[in-house]
């Protein structure tokens, strides 16, 4: 159709396929993208001179969207509306088709087909990611709900056992006060009973700690302070063991959100464990370092001892409740450490260092330090 008015070069710059229709809905001009696409689909002359309205009418019985487009095109041609827009799929691709009333000139309307496949795929990917994230969050919430319910049950039992336990220990105290001197070998019997009562008390206390729910409103705190508090709580053990305990940390390192009392309990437990496995006169070091990974900045708090380290076969179950190699231990110490670390959004891991010595690392999400704004 050589009589077609020349299309301004401006429209060729658009990646969308654009056609200009006259007052009857006939194609009078197309841009480069339209022509390329038409040729790829075997249409000679890019459809110039063809009635776009008739094409839509012919396709209407098999393509419902064509019927909608034909109706909209008639409306725009008649001046009843200025624009129309509809999404549609072609093969595996996604498009948006627009009809725009042209303000002036021989063309009455513009028909624009935009390939939105990559946006649609990006949206699908985002939806998939969102769905997977939602499912993961739901799984975590479910797990936390289960852990919380288990914690409440455990704590409930521990509370209930404390009353009869106190009745037993009080009766032993009263019995010893009343008859201890009169009955031969009483001390030996009482000692055996007391040892077991003490063990059960420790178990109840650990069960309560294990079952304790996380603090509802965590506060910013210094991990270094929590470590100091943990070491202070182990002071008698430190004195008795003749093991040296020290903290290594960089200046200013160590802010997290959490519960200082519970974190102090974590370090008390880890330092006590390290001391128990240390040789006399050995060193226990608590090292606090900031680590930046792809998923954020973390505080690594590692407790190192000079003991024999962990047996390889134990590493997979060190943090399981009731697992212990220590005689008389409740097996809940490291399980509590893991629980508290998880409650703080962190994790705990254990290794034997090359050359010997145990290493337990508590990794906690570091609280971002306020940045100083530079004044130019």
């Amino acid at each position: 159709m050589d009589a077609t008015p020349p299309l301004p070069g401006l429209l060729d710059a658009f990646p969308e396929r654009i056609a200009v229709l006259d007052h009857d809905g006939r194609i009078i001009a197309v841009n480069r993208a339209w022509r390329t696409s038409a040729e790829a689909n075997g249409l000679s002359g890019a459809g110039l001179g063809t009635s776009y309205l008739e094409v839509c009418d012919r396709a209407a019985p098999i393509e419902p969207v064509a019927r909608t487009v034909a109706t909209a095109l008639r409306d725009v041609l008649a001046g009843h509306r200025d624009t129309f827009e509809t999404p549609y799929d072609f093969a595996t691709d996604a498009y948006v088709m627009r009809i725009l009333a042209a303000p002036e000139g021989p063309g009455r309307v513009l028909v624009v087909h935009e390939d939105v496949t990559r946006w649609a795929r990006a949206l699908d990917d985002a939806s998939d990611t969102a769905r997977r994230s939602t499912e993961a969050l739901a799984r975590i919430a479910k797990r936390e709900e289960t852990v919380a319910a288990m914690g409440a049950l455990v704590a409930g039992v521990a509370h209930e056992v404390r009353n009869p336990l106190f009745a037993i220990s009080s009766t032993l105290d009263a019995f010893e006060a009343e008859l201890g001197d009169d009955v031969p070998r009483t001390a030996e019997w009482l000692h055996a009973l007391r040892t077991e009562v003490t063990r059960m008390s420790a178990l109840m206390s650990d069960l309560l700690d294990f079952g304790r729910p996380p603090r509802r409103q965590p506060a910013p705190l210094s991990v270094v302070d929590a470590v100091h508090a943990g070491i202070a709580a182990s002071a008698s053990l430190v004195r008795a063991s003749r093991v040296r305990v020290r903290i290594e940390h960089t200046e200013g390192a160590g802010a997290v959100m959490g519960d200082e009392r519970r974190l102090a309990q974590v370090f008390q437990q880890l330092v006590a464990n390290a001391i128990q496995h240390s040789p006399e006169g050995g060193d226990v070091v608590v090292r606090i370092e900031e680590t930046t990974l792809e998923d954020g900045t973390w505080l690594d708090c590692t407790v190192l001892d000079e003991g024999p380290g962990f047996r390889p076969e134990d590493l997979g179950r060190l943090f399981d409740p009731f697992f212990t190699r220590r005689r008389g231990g409740t097996g809940l110490g490291l399980a509590i450490v893991q629980r508290v670390a998880h409650d703080h959004g962190g994790e705990v891991s254990a290794t034997t260092r090359t050359g010997g010595g145990g290493s337990v690392r508590v990794r906690l999400p570091a609280l971002a330090r306020p940045r100083l704004r530079r004044l130019a």
Partner: protein, 125 residues
Amino acid sequence: MPRLLVVDDVEAILFAMRAYFRRGGFVVDTTGDRVSAKRMVVESAYDVAITDLRLGGADDVDGLELAHFIRHTSPATKVVVLTAYGSPELETRAARLGVERFLAKPQPLAELAALVHTLAATVRA
């Protein structure tokens, strides 16, 4: 000798504490319910009252209500709460009510006796 009131709804605990503290020379009264405890506080001047937190009433922390009553009707009496159901929140609440100590069960009676002696000495000072 210190005058001591022990309130707990477990009879075995009352039995053991009565025997232990009497043996130690204390003047001890015991009761398992809050109403009797209140009457006893009004009728006798105790140096120290050791009360359980849960006394079997509708309220889970009726021991705190008793502590409040004792602080108002017998201000000189020092109150110790001894419980199997403690929490930092309850401990704070107890401290606000003037409770001297908030202890977790079980406690060795020798340590409780030492505490009662110390508290009674401040009452009599």
